[in-house]
Amino acid sequence: MTSYVEGSPVKALIVDDSAVETMVLTAMLRKFHCEITTAKNGKEAVQMFLEGKKFDIIFREKDMPVMSGPEAIEKIRALGEIHVKIVGVSVGDNAQEAFMRVGADEFLPKPMKLDVVGAIIQEIIKKKKKNNDTVQA
């Protein structure tokens, strides 16, 4: 199932206050050779962007202390980060609407499945490869 494309790895940011859920998602993303950073809440995530860090994809839980997922997404998009793929994740009801309203690209209900996560990562790998090929042409 895993595939690997030469070039820079997919940079993934996991924003979740649950250590268990972060551990499981980290293991899934490692199967696809992602470079993984974690944050415990939306405020930490926003701070990373303010510090100039770049990511290809963010997995963001909805309900977190200090700053919620949707609130953080609004702030990140407002910083001009329109290209980073943002995936909202939650067990909560009505979470999908809350995420899509503020600019998330996709919503995944928990628990996340490896094949679903894999398909999203493969899509980003293809996009990065295409962008690399375009630059080199």
Partner: protein
């Protein structure tokens, strides 16, 4: 021979955990994440789950004592526990968490108290069963591949 017997016992215990509804497919997802780099991943996640869930259960208990009738607060705490249950496939615990949250939605304090007792009970049972499961796996040692067909 002993290895094979222990592996069989572990497989049988795991099957019963699924048959009795303690675990669901997500547990298999967690085990599938094991590889050579992380051969004990499932046990590590489960260990973290029980450490974390004990803390969350304590938080809920304190919230119910300190903030009587604050169903939103109780619900928020239980949602965290439910998320963790989802992640490792703790199905029965997850169901009891849902019932607790339903009682919160109905502002039914007695219903919450009853459900919470069940959450704690299922938590204890699952912990004991998974500890037995991983102990069997540890005793069996790492999986071995057959050197020739039919050989034992």
């Amino acid at each position: 021979m002993e290895y094979a017997n222990l592996r069989r016992q572990a497989a049988s215990l795991k099957r019963s955990l699924f048959d009795q509804g303690y675990l669901d497919e997500q547990f298999c997802q967690v085990e599938d994440l094991q590889d050579e780099a992380s051969p004990n991943f499932a046990e590590e996640v489960v260990s973290l789950f029980f450490k974390d869930s004990a803390r969350l259960v304590s938080n809920i208990e304190q919230a119910m004592e300190k903030y009587p009738g604050d169903f939103n607060r109780w619900d928020a705490h239980m949602q965290q526990l439910k998320g963790s249950c989802f992640s490792i496939g703790a199905s029965k615990m997850n169901n009891e968490c849902t019932l607790f949250r339903n009682s919160c939605g109905e502002e039914n304090a007695e219903g919450c108290r009853r459900s919470f007792q069940k959450v704690k009970r299922e938590h204890a049972i699952l912990r004991q069963k998974l500890e037995s499961y991983f102990q069997l796996l540890r005793q069996a040692g790492p999986a071995r591949t057959a050197t020739r067909s039919g050989g034992k």
